[in-house]
């Protein structure tokens, strides 16, 4: 055994790399769901990045997750774009949730143009949030959206089928919705924090 080497000498010689805690993204976009905000590292949606929401079927609470945020943004005179939604947004229902429909742009894009339109909206810098339902989106396409969201300082959301969970994704946040046995949200990936072991229960819509 050699003599004891002081730690500072090793560090000064730059032979040892010192790990740092990853930067926790600070965010100001609560989801409106306290239990979910509590487990997310940014305290809500990661700002200027892509969030991916994976669904077993349509209509299991995917909009309940984002409507409080949309309501807050549109009431603050910010624009929101919905790119090729699977159904028509029901104006009466959205307004009940507090969304100002005058600031919601709906874009009908063909299968091939969804990603293009989404990227344009994100990159423009004039949209606070862009929600998209891409038909085919691979890793590269999602990475482009992530870069566009960072460029345009916008919140990006893609809604996809749960079967994509096994594929890697560059999204900053991945949520999986589960309808049965009871509606709940699994956090599958979150940049800047550990993935919580428990699912967050999703409240029913109020009737």
């Amino acid at each position: 055994m050699n003599a004891v080497v002081p730690l500072s000498a090793l560090l000064d010689a730059r032979q040892v790399w010192r790990g740092r805690a990853p930067e926790v993204p600070i965010g100001d976009q609560p989801t409106g769901l306290r239990a979910l905000d509590a487990v997310l590292p940014a305290g809500g949606w990661p700002e200027a990045s892509l969030s991916e929401i994976l669904l077993p079927v349509d209509g299991v609470g995917e909009l309940r997750l984002v409507l409080p945020m949309l309501a807050r943004l549109t009431q603050g005179q910010r624009h929101v774009v919905i790119v090729s939604p699977p159904y028509a947004p029901c104006v009466a229902g959205w307004r009940q949730q507090g969304v100002d429909m005058r600031r919601v742009e709906i874009v009908d894009a063909g299968e091939k143009d969804v990603l293009w339109a989404t990227e344009q909206c994100l990159r423009s810098g004039s949209c606070a949030a862009v929600l998209a339902w891409p038909h085919h989106a691979d890793d590269r396409a999602l990475r482009r959206l992530q870069v566009a969201a960072a460029t345009g300082q916008a919140l990006a959301f893609v809604f996809r089928d749960r079967s994509h969970l096994s594929n890697a994704s560059p999204a900053a946040l991945r949520l999986e919705l589960e309808a049965l046995p009871r509606p709940q949200v699994w956090v599958r990936k979150c940049r800047g924090g550990a993935v919580p072991a428990q699912a967050v229960p999703l409240p029913r819509s109020v009737h």
Partner: protein
Amino acid sequence: MLWACIYLPSLALDGILRRRPTEGPLVLVDGPINARTIVSANDAARAAGLHVGQRLSAAQALLSQFDAIPYDRESVERWHQFLAAVAYRYSSEVSLLPHAIVLEVSKSMGLFGPWPRLESMLRADFTDLGFRHRMAAAPTAHAAHVLTTVSDGQAVLTVDTLRNALQRVSIVKSRLPEKAIATLPSMGIRTLGQVLALPRDGLRRRFGVELLASLDRLTGDLPSGLELYRPPDTFDLRIELLHEVENQSALIFPVRRMVDDLAAYLAGRDGGVQRFLLRLEHREGHFTDVPVGLLASERDGALLFEFARGRLEHVTLPEPVLALRLIARDLPAFVPAGRDLFDERHANALPIEQLRERLRARLGDGAVYRLGSTQDPRPERAQREATHDEVPIEPHPRPTWLLRRPVPLRGGNPIILAGPERVETGWWDGGEVCRDYYVIETSLGQEAWAFCAPDEQTGWMIHGWFA
């Protein structure tokens, strides 16, 4: 008064070169069919020994390969008018002189800055458009015109220095009546200074009042008497392509030029364009129209080009294109969008209006819209494309997704979460509806908005999702 003169020595040639950049020799020819002579030649042609005034047959003997294009008086006239419209941006008093445009700039300098600055702006505009020019400024329009023939960039700013500047101009370049130009040199008078020094009486007796009037207009003793240019109220530009074009991508370059011209015209008029038409002309009078409609009046060249290109890319050409025409009749006032000084958006953000235009250009006119409520209680008609939302918020539960048409519920019996809400209306307009709406939970765990016939609770039809 201060007049600027922009002299355009090769209007016809530049008009052709700007849509057909070529390195090879090119000449314009004019005259009867058996005695064609060269009226204009580009640098490459001159370097090869061709010159203005040469017979076409002589030129062909000198050089085997060159392009000869017939001189088109109409197109020259059109370019002249077009450039006047461009100059109109800088002054309300613009007039046309042979191969030149004059504009009164003494009042414009208050806005654009002193003459050297204004001159460089004018030069930049004309250079960008691809027209060679010479420029001069003088207290009278005709003096400015004469000065451009002598040199480029001369500025005579006061009446006192004007006579000095005119002193040494040779009679041949003085633009006096032709008779005087022919006779005066034989009398030993070779410069304008000498003419101006001659007794007026004698000049009148020999050459008539015409010469005196020209001299007075030159020095400013008589008003210029020029007719002022008025810009046309519609924009209509047509260019013939040199080859038959079968592929849209080959149309992009000429379209870009045309749209830039439109933008220059709009800037001069301080207007915008909301709708214009690109007409692709085929053989035998057939044509394809490509309408370009915008949501709001615009005038930025790059923007207009982007939208025009977006529309053009969707067109399939049925036949080869011979000529292009851009017609803009709807020219409303241009109101720049108001921006807040403390706007939070980052510096190079694209305004939402331009984003919508960009999306429409590629996805189609109806692809970008907003939804608003109507007074109709029938879910199918409760919303439509609109930008206003004056209707009060619905008190009954409404889903967040609305199916375009109701679909039957599959699977086991649903759990009723709320309802019924009866919707019974429309008997007066043929769209009669009588339904009980419920909020139900399907066997897959989805919350649905479904209806059935009144009081039945079977035969469920799903009309929306509480997503």
